[in-house]
């Protein structure tokens, strides 16, 4: 197979574009797609500092790499989830990436913020692990952005992530999630940072290829809690569709954003206020993250759990009956 641009040996075929590229031209294609997405969706101005949420995986490190190469002012944010070797190794990847590029990396630990790492939080809440993890990450991303003076947080969500989320929301006809699924989550409250997804038009395979060809040492191993996750089964279904009909994923997602989402947005209105405890945004009086920290604190022996700032705040005497609903609401407000 030959490169469409230079005629040299291709290293990657892009069936949905009916094309193939050599290494150099693919890297140019990837960078162009990312920067063009930023421009077209008005995600970021050239002089706006951006906090890049990095996990040590291919997507977020590829995004950070593109932004650094393009000259954006960035810092990385690594959220240590406390997931055993997986977190240790992913953190080391982020630190090595930042050190190699003389870039700033901010590290925040879930264990310090919520009172325990994700494995213990999972046991306490009996919620799907990805739900409590996602809540913690969205909260910490937003707060870290505000604490460190960033108005924008960029995440590495790719086309497959977004198409799988859309499929899941559609299967449930979850109108709130459908209304809020966007590559640019605009600021609707002074205490919310703008959330952007510059890779949303690039497939997972393309971000992996970019990371590989750039020599980025990313963590290939999957989060142990992601095995069997619903989102992965949705991705598998979409990949089967893509195999028989290349372009299906992009058509599904882009068509939704262009033509269907406005209809769901029309009836959507959320009244945000500040959490009485931590001051972050919530739809209730106390945010889901503070309630989560409370729940962890109550469940764990005081001596065994390193309590963080959120957990040290005065506890809400109200029982946590509404935690599940709050987790869900928070997920929607900050939905990816």
């Amino acid at each position: 197979m030959k490169c469409r641009k230079c005629g040299g040996r291709a290293v990657l075929e892009l069936r949905r574009h009916n094309t193939a590229f050599c290494a150099g031209d693919f890297l140019d294609f990837f960078r162009h797609q990312t920067l063009e997405t930023i421009r077209r969706w008005k995600m970021l101005s050239r002089d706006e500092p951006v906090l890049v949420a990095v996990s040590g995986g291919k997507d977020s490190l590829a995004l950070w790499d593109v932004l650094l190469e393009a000259g954006y002012t960035t810092a990385g944010l690594y959220i240590d989830l406390g997931i055993f070797d997986y977190s240790r190794e992913s953190k080391a990847r982020c630190q090595a990436f930042a050190a190699g590029r003389d870039a700033r990396l901010i590290v925040v630990s879930v264990a310090e913020e919520v009172g325990a790492g994700i494995p213990q939080v999972k046991d306490v809440t009996r919620r799907p692990t990805c739900s409590a993890c996602g809540l913690s990450k969205r909260y910490i991303m937003n707060r870290a952005a505000l604490d460190h003076g960033f108005g924008v947080v960029a995440t590495g969500h790719n086309l497959d992530d977004e198409a799988a989320t859309l499929l899941g929301s559609t299967l449930r006809w979850d109108e709130s999630s459908l209304a809020r699924q966007t590559p640019v989550l605009e600021v609707t409250h002074p205490k919310l940072a703008r959330r952007i997804k510059p890779l949303f038009r690039l497939s997972e395979r393309e971000t992996a290829a970019y990371a590989f060809l750039r020599g980025i040492d990313y963590i290939v191993e999957e989060c142990p809690f992601a095995r069997g996750a619903t989102s992965i089964s949705h991705k598998e279904v979409l990949n089967r569709l893509e195999d028989v009909s290349p372009g299906s994923k992009a058509s599904f997602l882009l068509g939704f954003l262009e033509r269907a989402r406005p209809r769901f947005q029309a009836g959507e209105s959320v009244d945000l206020r500040e959490c009485l405890r931590c001051g972050q945004t919530t739809t209730g009086e106390v945010c889901a993250f503070c309630k989560l920290a409370d729940q962890v604190r109550r469940a764990a022996p005081r001596s065994a759990v390193p309590l963080g700032s959120a957990a040290l705040e005065p506890t809400d005497p109200a029982p946590l009956r509404g935690l599940a609903a709050d987790l869900s609401a928070a997920s929607e407000i900050h939905a990816s």
Binding site: M1, V11, T207, A208, A209, D243
Partner: protein
């Protein structure tokens, strides 16, 4: 050829040469879900893999809803 299936933690030895797309079909792997790596090189689906090649199939799907 030796095929390393990353993340499954297993290796497969196959005799003879074949195209990448035939190898993937034989192993039941969708092309969209992996990078096919030979040394420091990526292979497209029409490339021929030789008998003495070592190939890594690196999965690209990551997940968990966050």
């Amino acid at each position: 050829m030796k095929v390393i299936l990353r993340n499954q933690g297993r290796e497969v030895e196959l005799a003879g040469r074949r195209r990448v797309k035939d190898l993937l079909a034989e192993l039941g792997v969708l092309p969209e879900t992996v990078l096919v790596i030979r040394g420091r090189d990526l292979l497209t689906i029409d490339e021929v893999i030789r008998e003495d090649d070592v190939i890594e199939l690196r999965p690209v799907i990551s997940g968990g809803r966050a």
